[in-house]
Symmetry: C2
C-alpha cells in the first residue's frame, strides 16, 4: 500500500480515503460516492479495529461480510479496497498509541473509556499507510469526526477531513451496521432517537432554550419506548463538547441509547 500510495502521489493523483469497518450500507456508500467525485485514487478501507472495542463490547459479534462489501465498493467504482488483517495492523510487540485527550473524555468516551484512543491510533496508521489527500468520515459519529479533525491539526497531517451527512432509513433511524442486531420490537423503538432530536429542535423553535428542560423532555420521550435505556443525552458546544446551559447558538445534541443490548447513537445540530 505504501508503494501504491507513493506511485499515485508521484503521478500527481489525488488520493481519497473512506475508512470503514465493513458490513457496508447506504450510509457508507454515500461517503464512497462523495469520495469518487473528490479524487482519482479512491481507497475504501475495511477493518474491524479491535483496539476501539472495550473488553465487554461486540468486537467478536460485529457483523462482517467481506465479499458483499467488495462487490458494493466495486459498483461505486472505487479503485482499491484496503482490508488488512488485525495481525498486520497490530503485530506482536505493538506499543504505540495516539490519544486526543480532552475531546475523548466526553460523551461516548465516558462509557467507552479507551474507544477513541483506539480510533485515533488506527486512523493515524491508516493515514500513514494510505497517504490520502482527503479522508471522509460520517457525521453520525460526530465526536469521532471532531476528534479526528483535532488529531489531524495537532499532529500536522496534511489531510483534508470531510464530514458527510448522516444517511437515514425512511423512518429516520440513522444507518448503522449495528442496526442488524435489533429484534423487530427493538427496531420499532429505534426511530425514537431521531424523533427525539427533531422534537428537541421543535422545542427550541418554540423558545424552550434551557438544556435541562430539553434533556428532561427528551429522556421521557425515549424512555416511553420499549427496551430503551439511555446512556447519555447531552447538549454541548460542537467544537469543545462542553455542556451548555442554554441553546443560544448552534449546539450539538448528541445521544446514546441502548435498545436491548444494542447501543445506538445519533446527533443533530440544534439551531436557535
Amino acid at each position: 500500500m505504501h508503494a501504491v500510495a507513493s506511485a499515485s502521489r508521484l503521478k500527481g493523483q489525488t488520493i481519497v480515503l473512506v475508512p470503514t469497518m465493513g458490513f457496508l450500507h447506504e450510509g457508507h456508500l454515500s461517503l464512497v460516492r462523495q469520495g469518487r467525485k473528490l479524487g482519482n485514487q479512491l481507497i475504501v478501507s475495511i477493518f474491524v479495529n479491535p483496539t476501539q472495542f472495550g473488553p465487554n463490547e461486540d468486537f467478536e459479534d460485529y457483523p462482517r461480510d467481506f465479499n458483499r462489501d467488495v462487490q458494493m465498493v466495486a459498483q461505486e467504482n472505487a479503485d482499491i479496497v484496503f482490508a488488512p488483517e488485525a495481525a498486520d495492523i497490530y503485530p506482536a510487540n505493538f506499543q504505540t498509541f495516539v490519544n486526543t485527550t480532552n475531546l475523548s473524555n466526553k460523551l461516548c468516551g465516558l462509557s467507552r473509556p479507551s474507544h477513541f484512543k483506539g480510533v485515533t491510533t488506527v486512523v493515524a496508521k491508516l493515514f500513514n499507510i494510505v497517504q490520502p489527500h482527503i479522508a471522509i468520515f460520517g457525521k453520525k459519529d460526530f465526536q469521532q469526526l471532531i476528534i479526528i479533525r483535532q488529531m489531524v491539526c495537532d499532529l500536522n497531517f496534511d489531510i483534508k477531513i470531510i464530514g458527510a451527512a448522516t444517511f437515514r432509513e425512511s423512518d429516520g433511524l440513522a444507518m448503522s451496521s449495528r442496526n442488524t442486531y435489533l429484534s423487530q420490537r427493538q427496531r420499532s423503538s429505534a426511530p425514537a432517537l431521531y424523533q427525539a432530536l427533531l422534537n428537541a429542535q421543535k422545542m427550541v423553535n418554540a423558545n424552550i432554550k434551557k438544556t435541562s428542560t430539553l434533556i428532561q423532555k427528551t429522556t421521557q420521550f425515549i424512555e416511553a419506548r420499549p427496551e430503551t435505556q439511555i446512556d447519555y443525552i447531552a447538549i454541548c458546544d460542537p467544537r469543545t463538547l462542553e455542556d451548555l446551559k442554554l441553546v443560544k447558538q448552534p449546539a450539538l445534541m448528541a445521544l446514546a441509547v441502548k435498545i436491548g443490548r444494542t447501543r445506538l447513537i445519533d446527533n443533530m445540530i440544534l439551531t436557535p
Copy 2:
C-alpha cells in the same frame, strides 16, 4: 513546509530530515553531512521541544544560538532550516500525544517519566510536517533511536530511520549541547562515562560476563570521580531494553550520570 514538502515529493526528490534541538556541535554536523549524501532535499529542524522536558528540568536554561546554528547548517549545504515557534507546534487547545509505551518506561524513562512521550509526539509532528523519506538520529540517544524506530513501525510511517555513530571529544566525552553546563572540575570528571564503557568491554574480553559484576565495577569507577552521581547503569537487550544477567550476545550498556547538576548519558554495545 507542507507546500514545500509536497512540491519536493512531486518533483521526485528524496527528503532527508535531521531533527535537532539546536546549539549544534560536530555531532549534529556529522548527521547533517550524512544526510547531505542521502537525499537532494536536506532539512535540518531546530526546535527545543518543551514537552520532552520535565517540570524540574532544564527547558528554560537549555543553550540556544539560532544565528550560529543557521551559519553552521548553511556551511554544510543543507537546503532548509525548519525552526518553528513553540506556539505553532503547540497551539492553544493542543491535546494529541503519541506514546510508545513499553520502551519508554525503561532506562531514562524511569527518571524522566514523560520525556519520551514528548519526543515521540514532536517527532511524529515533524514527520508529518516535513514528510521525509529518511530521518537521521544519533546513537548517543540510543533509547530515543529505538523508540522512534518502534513508533515508525507501529504507526506505519513510510520513513527510513538511520542511526548515526556517536561523535566524541578527543578525551572520549560524547558530544552534547549540555556539556556547556559543566564547570572545569566537572568537565574533567565527564570522560569517566566513556572510559567506564571501554572498561566494561575490557572486562567482557577478560571473560567477566555477569552483568551484576560489570555494573558494580562500573559504579565504583564512576563514583570515584568528583561530583558524580549515578542515575542508572544498565546492561540490557538492545531491542527490548530488558535487563540481562549475562553478556552472551551483543548487549547494550547504557548509563546516565549527574555531574553536578548536569545529567549526561552515554552507551555502547558490549560484544562478548
